[in-house]
């Protein structure tokens, strides 16, 4: 009886967005009286960090500090249309829509500044700290708060912009089946190192190495969190989680958190992650979607590592001690 170590890997190509009804999302941006830019969306942030990255996109295009952006996702009945946050599409679709809206709003912002400063809008630039200034003559400038006040109460203009991302639905070529259903694909690979106890059948994930090609990491901290949190979730699917009972009777099924098993802090492997950036032409600043894919590759990687460790090829999740032991018994004719 021994602990057997094994290593396995698996790779995933994951599409960003889907091919249903054009998969559109819209964004509206307007400036308040004091120069806060409100990004109105129906796209919901349920913790994935969408508000963070779309605020970054808006700030980058407008040339204003991040703190000047307020993302409002209040109401899907009254907000601009969004298909939803699924298919790893949020950052890509909504980011693009926000960039388009912010580009239009920036044009108005510069036109208002041009009238206030009595210069040509083409000679203006943003300094990133809240001022619009004349290129080469930076002392001639106006702060976004004064600019917004002038637009509202003097010039009578709205500083606003409209944005939409729409990739037309793509039908397959009848002769070849060829089609273009997504906007780009992210790529990833997980290497898992596991220890299999051949007496108890318990599998422990020791280390996971994650390599992700994601276009551009708009926010490296949230990317790292998504990659490693997703790897944990993949490991959880692989080894623990099942809503169906392991045994035929429903009474053996998990009914609450004490029976629905998932790894907690004591079960986590050491993780090493590498992010590769090859910007996608269609992505906002080159970003691809990496929502769902992060939980994909860890599962087959762990299955392959178990096979490498003890020769048991498991094809049904979760890879429970019982299944490992039955596999070992089958190998030895026991």
């Amino acid at each position: 009886m021994a602990i057997r170590r094994g290593r396995g890997y698996a790779a995933v190509n994951y599409p960003t967005g889907m091919n249903l009804g054009g998969d559109p999302s819209q964004a509206l941006i307007h400036a308040t009286t004091t120069g806060t830019f409100v990004v109105s969306l129906s796209s919901v942030d349920l913790g994935q960090g969408l508000k963070t990255v779309v605020a970054q996109c808006a700030a980058e295009v407008l040339g204003l500090p991040y703190g000047n952006i307020l993302v409002d996702t209040a109401d899907t009945d009254t907000g601009p249309h969004c298909m939803g946050t699924f298919a790893s599409r949020g950052t890509h679709r909504v980011g693009n829509a926000v960039i388009m809206a912010a580009t239009e709003a920036r044009e108005v912002m510069l036109a208002v500044a041009a009238d206030e400063l009595e210069v040509d809008a083409g000679d203006l630039e943003t300094d990133g700290s809240g001022f619009v200034q004349v290129k080469g003559a930076e002392q001639k400038r106006i702060h976004i708060t004064d600019l917004a006040l002038a637009a509202h109460f003097k010039q009578g203009r709205t500083i606003s912009g409209r944005g939409i991302f729409l990739k037309e639905k793509n039908d397959p070529v009848p002769e070849t089946g060829e089609m273009d259903p997504d906007s780009c694909q992210a790529h990833a690979c997980t290497v898992a190192v596991v220890d299999v106890d051949d007496e108890t059948g318990v599998v422990e994930v020791v280390t996971m190495y994650n390599a992700y090609e994601i276009g551009r990491a708009l926010n490296p901290a949230t990317v790292a969190q998504q990659v490693e949190g997703g790897a944990w979730m993949g490991m959880s699917h692989a080894l623990f989680e099942a809503t169906e009972p392991y045994y035929p009777a429903r009474s053996h099924g998990p009914a609450d958190f004490s029976e629905y098993l998932m790894p907690t802090a004591a079960d986590i492997p050491e993780q090493h992650s590498a992010i590769l950036e090859r910007p996608a032409e269609s992505g906002p600043f080159g970003a691809k979607g990496i929502g769902e894919m992060t939980a994909n590759a860890p599962i087959p990687a762990i299955a392959n590592a178990i096979y490498d460790a003890c020769g048991v090829r498991l094809t049904a999740m979760p890879f429970t001690p019982e299944r490992v032991l039955r596999g070992l018994d089958a190998l030895t004719g026991g």
């Binding site: 349920l46 913790g47 994935q48 960090g49 901290a221 949230t222 969190q225 998504q226 490693e228 949190g229 997703g230 790897a231 944990w232 979730m233 609450d256 958190f257 004490s258 998932m262 907690t264 802090a265 004591a266 986590i268 993780q271």
Partner: protein, 162 residues
């Protein structure tokens, strides 16, 4: 049965409210007192996100019948930062170490860490893991949370030395 008046010390101040029999501490905090940091995750003691400190000990507030703790001292996440809003060492370490994603588990994680570090200023990694073993996080994979609590311990020790 009639409701009873419950008196507590809540985040250092007296609090008094009406509770129906069997009302949980969590429901009292959220529904009667308007303190929304402690979350209602599973409402059966399985997820830890409702954790608060009861006389200094971490408890799952969904499992505590509030009429049984008359006169006790309760501390929630709302009472962790200084009165001027300055974050304490645990909160700062969570923020700087990005030990959160959706935020639903964060209040419970921080309260458990507060309790751990109050009794053990220099915990090992295993002791941190044991302390948060009753708290479920679905986003982070836990590593950043463990690192943040160890970082908070370092920060607190440095402050104490100064």
């Amino acid at each position: 049965m009639a409701s009873t008046v419950v008196s507590l010390r809540l985040n250092g101040r007296p609090a008094e409210f009406l509770a129906r029999p069997g009302t949980s501490l969590l429901s009292s905090l959220r529904d009667s007192l308007g303190l929304m940091a402690a979350k209602r995750g599973c409402a059966q003691g399985g997820c830890g996100t409702c954790t608060v400190l009861l006389d200094g000990r971490p408890v799952m507030s969904c499992l505590v019948a509030v009429e049984t703790i008359e006169g006790a001292s309760v501390r929630t996440l709302e009472g962790v930062a200084a009165d001027d809003g300055r974050l304490d060492a645990v909160q700062s370490a969570f923020l700087d170490g990005f030990a959160t994603q959706c935020g639903f588990c964060t209040a419970g994680m921080i309260m458990v860490a507060e309790s751990l570090l109050a009794g053990n200023p220099d915990p090992s990694r295993d002791e941190v893991v044991e302390a948060i073993s009753g708290n479920v996080c679905r986003c982070t994979g836990y590593a950043s949370i463990i690192a943040a609590i160890l970082d908070a311990a370092r920060r607190k020790r440095e402050v104490d030395v100064v």
